[in-house]
């Protein structure tokens, strides 16, 4: 009952000289949404491909429902529904034909097929479009079809690799609703993402991965509260055409303050990480005034997952990991 549905232990994988996974371990409990959050190139897709038996690990262990991916790949494949990062719909096939194709690949009996197809179409909101060729569906609708194909066999585990990548806001919300509905049915979800808000909003448990290593793990709330600091975000007047230099001097000025741990420039804003301290706001405003900078707005907030990433990975999330180094 309490056995984890997915268990990964010290998993390693290299592509030639590139170390994609440097010994990661994690466990996913029955019925939860587990998020693997990290920048591009962190090793998310590699993890997913090992879980779906598409790539052989160099070392370590990966199990789905107690079945090792290497010793019984066929069993693992029948337990997992996989929706890859890239669109994999076939432009020539209709939505209905896609679902019927996957129904056969998962060996569904003829009797239950039609109900399953209708159910999958309804779940992603594609009812009425079943006879349209994928070529003539919008990008967002293609993605929904892709998602529907991954659940036609009602798998106990569904693996989604960056499901909302590149989608517009409305479709993104639809996809989120769909993920929540799957969870309500008792499906265990493994979700890769590089969107903080997606992880924060959907996931019960998050592992932050960076350069093939898991740097932090826990519920989004726990991860945030582990960080004993708050964020002051200062926006300087946008009319200031030298805002680059202004941010520079503001950064220098606030670094003198004792409660400031570090700061990061983000567009026309400066994010300042401070030890929880009531005096922080007035002190920062004072520092800005002392170097002649007019502040447009200033906010004080609890840290988000991007701040968690910054803390553990030692650099801003948006800087990405592909650069190596």
């Amino acid at each position: 009952m309490s056995d984890p549905v997915i268990r990964i232990e010290n998993l390693r994988k290299s592509y030639g000289p590139v170390v994609a996974l440097d010994g990661i371990s994690l466990e996913v409990k029955q019925g939860e949404i587990f998020g693997l959050l990290g920048p591009n190139g962190a090793g998310k897709t590699t993890t997913v491909k090992i879980l779906t038996t598409l790539v052989r690990p160099d070392g370590g262990k990966a199990e789905v429902a107690g079945t090792d991916v290497l010793s019984d790949p066929a069993k693992v494949r029948s337990l997992v529904g996989y929706v890859p990062q890239e669109l994999t719909v076939d432009p020539y096939l209709t939505a209905q034909e896609h679902l019927s194709y996957y129904a056969d690949l998962y060996h569904l009996p003829a009797a239950s097929r039609e109900t399953r197809i209708q159910e999958a179409l309804a779940l992603v909101g594609l009812a009425g479009l079943e006879d349209r060729r994928a070529r003539h569906l919008s990008g967002g609708t293609k993605k929904k079809l892709d998602l529907a194909c991954g659940l036609i066999h009602r798998p106990p585990v569904i693996v989604l690799d960056e499901p909302s990548l590149g989608l517009d806001v409305q479709v993104r919300r639809d996809v989120w609703n769909y993920i929540v509905r799957l969870k309500e049915r008792g499906t265990t979800l493994f979700l890769c993402t590089n969107y903080m808000d997606e992880a924060e909003r959907l996931c019960d448990e998050v592992a932050i991965i960076d350069r093939g290593k898991i740097v932090a793990m826990g519920s989004p709330a726990a991860l945030r509260s582990q960080l004993k600091r708050d964020v002051v975000s200062v926006e300087i007047a946008s009319a200031n055409e030298h805002h680059g230099e202004s941010l520079e001097s503001l950064e220098k000025a606030v670094s003198q303050l004792s409660m400031v741990q570090r700061s990061v420039k983000d567009g026309t804003r400066l994010k300042i990480y401070v030890e929880s301290n009531d005096a922080a706001l007035p002190k920062i405003i004072e520092a800005a005034a002392s170097v002649g900078i007019s502040v447009q707005s200033i906010t004080y907030s609890r840290p988000g997952l991007d701040d968690v990433f910054l803390h553990y990975a030692g650099r801003a999330f948006s800087a990405g990991g592909e650069s190596g180094g």
């Binding site: 494949r77 997992v80 996989y82 890859p84 020539y92 194709y101 056969d104 690949l105």
Partner: protein, 254 residues
Amino acid sequence: MGDFLQETKAQLGRWMIHLKREPFNVAFNLVNPLILLIFMGGAFQALARDSVGGDYRSYLLPGILALTAFGNSMAGGIPLLFDRETGFLLRLMSAPISRASILVSRFLAVNLSTMLQCLLILALGLLFGARIATGLGGVVALLMIGLLLGFGVTVISLILAFVLENHGDFFAILGVTALPLSFLSSAFVPLDALPLWMRLLARVNPMTYAIDAMRSLILTGWDWPRLLLMVIVLLVFDGAMFWLGARVLSRQLA
């Protein structure tokens, strides 16, 4: 076994849908054969009458059939390479299916379309005045020979689909095989009319045996020794390709 049939049928169904909704691809395959049939047949009709002893279009028809079978089979792996490039194949492989079903379904689809195309070429040949000495039985035999040649070539194409890295390379290979190999056979002129080096190469080209057998069926009648030689050569060729394919592809699809 039931599972294998179900997954193979589904994949074959997808290829048939492609065939139906992508008629342009078939047309593309038929361009070269049709140019040869219409223009080369027309251009050399008078010139060739003496050397081939009769109607040049009838003489040319077997070569064009073999070229069609070869070209279609050789291109047969391309959709699988596209599936590799788009990620479709990887997703397919995350399903609990036998890897062999991927190859078997594509193999069947390619050879079905080869058969259709050969029928189309035959019909056009007849329309342009070619005659088949062995009648309806001969038509069936001609299709069989096309398939026997196509089987081994399809396997080569499936290997290429998994060994090559991108479809550009695949198209390049297609461009430099079909027509040159046809010229290095008895497709357009009798072997005796070829220079020695070309004749030697034509002798090791399985197409030559298919074409010679087809030609006898169209021009003269049931030439059993020739048909037997063709069957032996093509079975050896197909067998060798299947053996090679099994070795390479079982590793590529592991």
